[in-house]
């Protein structure tokens, strides 16, 4: 990972998007980040219901200082605030999830969802337009017919590239509760949407019907003990899906078994460690994100303190468990008070499933290299924004006693008590093929890339920031 060895990945800053000032408008808070299947496009959604799509500029890869720049390609208002008249409640326009469809033609398609409605958007380019109308001026005003003396046929002429976003389908009125996940199936025809108690299956072409495939709502609501927190289709098997629960269990369902998948095919659950039991055990065991590996062999889950890797063939316990911020275990009372204990962090795999990443507080994010058994803590901060500046690994020290207890106050160490819990990284994404990552702080989007190692060029390191080896 970020270390001294030449075989380790070193991450450097590439770009940051968003405003600098700290006064964040609620609408600008980023709520989802997603690369498309090629990695050329990066979509973000925010609480204001807007989607911004960045496109990677293809530069010359043979240049050592190759930087893949992402620039704004398209933006549109996906969802708007709505009002439920029956219940006198407002429906937020916040984009909960964006999922790209695999590209089939020149246009791009993505699904975006808020709490209640999923929309299929078509993103298409236009670089020609008709000019020379007989009856209209170029700006659209109609010519006085009396002034038309000749006939001419409009021709297509090139124009500045324009990116159109148009809603092709609106999938609404299928969820009583809040939609937390959408997932496109590998058959490219269907997708699922999951809310707190149900999972529905849709056909992308049909927006007035959906099948309910999972329903965990009990007949008597008093018996309700857990809710669905995330759901995803298997990347290759179109009949397999998983959903996670607020109690820390994951259920795998096979749609070939029955039409209703209330009975799971597999149940992934780890017995709780009795020594760690506390008042907050249930809360922190709630799974906030579940992601299949690209290979389809493994499953990653994120709960409050850990990232767990499960082998689909073994239900009894995860094969790997990574501590994200174990130092917070003693702080749970205050985290509960300031609601941070309920933060829902996401996690992601890299392209070859060798590294996983997730966010933390103080604008830190964590990477776990599964193969090399290393982990790193990096920071997304405005202070390290020189082009190609290397990210230094950060460390949180937890020593006892007053004053933070860090034995040696190095520049890159910070004590637990100094962490800023308002700066949280909930959404991260990894390019499907390259080592490019997108990390969303509250209202900024950071793009980092791994340093293309070139032993001859030492000028990438700024004089004041030398890499410190772990």
């Amino acid at each position: 990972m970020a270390g001294g060895g030449s075989e380790d990945m070193q991450w450097c800053f590439s770009q940051v998007k968003g405003a600098i000032d700290d006064d964040v408008a609620e609408a600008d808070i980023i709520s989802t980040v997603e690369f498309n299947h090629s990695g050329e496009l990066l979509a973000t959604g925010d609480r204001g219901g807007r989607v911004v799509i960045f496109q990677q500029e293809v530069e010359n890869k043979s240049v050592p200082e190759y930087r893949s720049e992402y620039n704004v390609y398209s933006t549109f208002q996906s969802h708007e605030p709505e009002f439920d008249y029956l219940k006198s409640l407002e429906i937020e326009e916040k984009i909960n999830k964006i999922r790209w469809l695999p590209q089939k033609n020149a246009s791009q398609f993505l699904l975006s969802t808020n709490d209640k409605t999923i929309k299929l958007w078509k993103i298409s380019e236009r670089d020609k337009r008709p000019e020379g109308y007989n009856l209209k001026e170029e700006d659209g005003r109609y010519i006085n017919p009396g002034n038309v003396t000749s006939l001419r046929v409009p021709v297509f002429r090139p124009m500045d590239l324009m990116v159109e976003a148009s809603p092709r389908r609106v999938f609404s009125n299928a969820h009583t509760y809040h939609i937390n996940s959408i997932s496109v199936n590998s058959d490219h025809e269907t997708y699922l949407s999951a809310d707190d108690l149900r999972v529905n299956l849709w056909n992308l072409e049909i927006n007035d019907r959906s099948f309910n495939i999972v329903d965990i709502k009990p007949a008597n609501m008093e018996d309700l003990t857990e809710i669905i927190t995330a759901a995803e289709f298997h990347p290759h098997h179109c009949h397999t899906l998983v959903y996670s629960s607020s109690k820390g269990s994951i259920r795998l369902c096979d749609m070939r078994a029955s039409a209703l998948c209330d009975q799971h095919t597999k149940l992934f659950e780890e017995p709780e460690d009795p020594s760690n039991r506390s008042f907050f055990s249930e809360i922190i065991s709630s799974i906030s994100d579940v992601k299949f590996s690209h290979s389809g062999r493994y499953l990653m889950t994120r709960d409050y303190l850990t990232v767990k890797i499960w082998d689909l063939n073994m239900e009894t316990r995860p094969i790997e468990t990574y501590q994200v911020h174990e130092y917070l275990r003693n702080k749970m009372c205050s985290l509960y008070e300031n609601d941070c204990l309920f933060d829902k962090f996401e996690c992601c795999w890299n392209g070859d499933d060798s590294v996983v990443m997730t966010g933390s507080y103080n604008n830190f994010f964590r990477m776990f290299d599964r193969a090399q058994r290393r982990d790193a803590t990096l920071e997304a901060s405005r202070e390290h924004n020189l082009p190609l500046q290397l990210l230094k690994p950060r460390r949180v020290c937890t020593g006892g006693g007053g004053g933070g207890g860090c034995s040696k106050r190095k520049k890159d160490e910070i004590s637990v008590d100094s962490l800023d819990f308002n700066k949280k990284i909930l959404h991260t994404a990894w390019h499907p093929n390259d080592n490019i990552i997108a990390v969303a702080t509250i209202n900024n989007l950071y793009i980092f890339q791994d340093k293309v190692s070139d032993p001859d060029s030492a000028d990438d390191l700024s004089a004041s920031d030398m890499m410190c080896t772990i």
Partner: protein
């Protein structure tokens, strides 16, 4: 004082703690949690309401509390699971009744609050005339147009880094005098509020830095004359939504009833420098 007023007083004390009480704010509505807030369980419902309002919309469990007593003043773990259980627990009739009661109480509270602040001699007259004012916090808004959202293109030019009209032409340089200062409820929904991640012009390129902050109050449109017209020609569904549709694309966060200004950065023209227009 008559009884409702006494009750109002008591309830008001509790309500002051509610961060987004229906009264004190400018009519901000509760967030959807898939069912109305139940408020009729007991007279102590206001306390419970506080907890429900504070609850997060997430999916963690609550430690099993078989007898959830809403009148408890201590904070209860109000998680999403708990929320759902409570909302589904009572039948529709009670829910509607409770909701109505809550709305009425809020209106009464609002009225009495205004009256107590009112220094006029003619209290009776004022109360009568002020009562219609507060009704709008439960807005009776038109349903979103069925044509809205389908087939309505939003076009963006990467080279210009701004929205353009669907026919690809630059907008005509005729500013719309009404758009500039239109209030939120009258603004057309074709105006997309600039995303913070959108293209940001460098300082110095903006020619509207001199615009005073107050211009942003309640406006949702552009500031500079040569880009205010952008809205006129950009693909916009229908002018009939000018009557204050809740689904205003221009709307920033918050309820439709909120008439106060959105934050300055949100009422910019799309993709102009957000930094310059920050409130600092």
């Amino acid at each position: 004082m008559n009884n409702p007023a006494v009750m109002t007083q008591e309830k008001m004390e509790l309500d002051l703690e509610i961060p987004n009480a229906l009264v004190q704010t400018d009519g901000q509505l509760r967030r959807s949690n898939s069912a109305p807030m139940i408020n009729g369980l007991s007279d102590n419902c206001q306390v419970f309401q506080r907890e429900v309002l504070r609850s997060r919309r997430n999916s963690t469990t609550v430690v099993n509390r078989p007898n959830m007593v809403p009148s408890s003043p201590i904070r209860v773990p109000s998680t999403r699971l708990h929320q759902i259980k409570q909302e589904e627990g009572i039948d529709v009739m009670n829910r509607e009744t409770a909701h109505e009661r809550e709305v009425q109480a809020a209106m009464q509270m609002s009225q009495s609050w205004e009256e107590s602040l009112n220094l006029s001699d003619n209290d009776l007259e004022k109360s009568v005339s002020s009562s219609p004012k507060r009704i709008d916090f439960v807005p009776v808004s038109p349903a979103p147009s069925p044509t809205r959202g389908i087939g309505k293109k939003q076009c963006f030019s990467p080279s210009l880094q701004s929205l353009v009209s669907s026919n690809g032409l630059s907008p005509s340089p005729i500013p719309s005098p009404t758009r500039r200062f239109s209030r939120r409820s009258q603004s057309p929904i074709n105006c997309i509020r600039a995303s913070i991640l959108g293209p940001i012009k460098r300082k110095g390129e903006m020619d509207i830095e001199s615009q005073p902050k107050r211009l942003f109050q309640g406006t949702t449109t552009m500031l500079s004359t040569d880009i205010a017209h952008l809205l006129d020609v950009s693909s916009c569904p229908s002018p009939e939504l000018l009557d204050g549709s809740l689904s205003s694309v221009c709307s920033s966060t918050g309820s439709p009833g909120k008439m106060e200004g959105v934050s300055p950065s949100s009422s910019n023209s799309p993709f102009t420098s957000l930094q310059d227009l920050s409130p600092k």
